[in-house]
């Protein structure tokens, strides 16, 4: 670690300073959002970029493999052609709260999918993507509303996980150092995703393009993931 870096425990919680001064200044009570990754560039190499992207709405959808009717409704709701196959994701467009929301639907298991708002739109954004309530309400209406016997489940996990975007010429190398998936340019392409580990933390890795990836991790491990990614970029400057 460089001398100027904070410990894992200290990094990643950057909003408290500003918050406490506000409170001390006696401003009216307001709950502020915190970020789970440091703002700005995390990479130590010019050939790769590590940036936190948050918050993003995320929903875990459980629906039975044999529920064809329900799956068709789901596809319609999310505006994608079909549900993703094993370890893939598809693009989605949902009209919600007057906004046309771009997102992706990732496969997590045979009866488990995750909807996530598109990372690209929210890199360095000041506006947060918080459409979970609307999406959940919409899903309830469409999928459960008229079909009492349909067994589905939607759970808001927007705050459970946070996403890091890793991009650049050396992005694959940085990820391949600590992830046991086969990330060769021909083996892991745009549209692929996979749950695995990075170092010792569980992640969900997805490939947006040849040089752009999204790493999703539980917020409790976000400090560890950030530091490990940063460490892995050191030797990529040469």
């Amino acid at each position: 670690m460089t001398a100027e870096s904070k410990t894992i425990e200290e990094s990643g919680r950057v909003s408290s300073d500003s918050l406490s001064t506000d409170l001390a200044a006696g401003l009216s009570a307001e709950l502020r959002m915190q970020h789970f990754f440091p703002r700005g560039e995390g990479s130590l190499s010019p050939l790769v970029s590590i940036r936190g992207v948050e918050p993003l709405s995320k929903i875990i959808i459980r629906i039975a493999e044999e529920d064809d009717a329900g799956r068709r409704e789901l596809v319609k709701f999310f505006g994608c052609n079909k549900l993703p196959l094993n370890n893939k994701y598809v693009a989605s467009t949902v009209s919600v709260a007057g906004v046309s929301l771009a997102g992706i639907l990732l496969w997590l298991g045979p009866n488990e999918y995750m909807y996530r708002v598109s990372t690209e739109d929210y890199v360095d954004s000041e506006v947060s993507a918080d459409f979970s309530n609307e999406l959940l309400a919409g899903l309830e209406k469409v999928l459960v509303g008229g079909h009492v016997s349909r067994h589905v489940s939607f759970v808001d996990v927007s705050d459970y996980y946070a996403v890091v975007r890793v991009s650049g010429a050396r992005a694959r190398r940085v990820l391949q150092k600590n992830c046991p998936l086969d990330l060769h340019a021909r083996a892991f392409v745009a549209g692929d995703c996979g749950q695995s580990v990075y170092g010792k933390s569980s992640i969900l890795l997805s490939c947006a393009s040849a040089n752009t990836f999204a790493v999703q991790v539980r917020i409790s491990m976000s400090g560890y993931l950030w530091e490990l990614l940063k460490f892995s970029t050191i030797s990529e400057s040469c």
Partner: protein, 124 residues
């Protein structure tokens, strides 16, 4: 390190998995009808065979699915995988010939996977 094939995700490194011991031990349909010894055998006793065994694996850092693997625990060679509810994987004939193994393990109980669920009719 072994390479394990999840029936849903394909071949992955062992670090993503957790092994949960012997497969094919179904929960008895009526637990109260067993005597203490019979219940104890269900809870505690395993074959623990040397050689080819049927095991349950969980893809913990992945799709979180449980599946069955047929593994030779002497050579650490995986011989087959199956999803719960499918037929158990069989020992390939070439392996059988090459090692001339006499006995292939049979799972202790053919039940499980909903077969013992009295209330629900199993639909495949």
């Amino acid at each position: 390190m072994l390479r394990v094939t999840c029936p849903w995700c394909g071949a992955r490194e062992q670090v993503e998995f957790s092994c949960h011991g012997e497969a094919g031990i179904a929960r008895p349909a009526d637990c109260s009808s067993l005597d203490d010894r019979g219940w104890g055998e269900y809870v505690f006793f395993k074959e623990n065979a040397k050689g080819i065994t049927l095991e349950r694996w969980e893809h913990i850092h992945g799709c979180r699915r449980w599946f069955i693997a047929l593994r030779d625990n002497v050579t650490d060679c995986f011989l087959g995988f199956s999803k719960p509810g499918e037929d158990f994987p069989q020992v390939p004939s070439s392996y059988r010939q090459a090692l001339s193994c006499a006995s292939i393990p049979m799972p202790r109980s053919a039940g499980g996977y909903g077969k013992n669920d009295k209330k629900v009719v199993l639909k495949r």
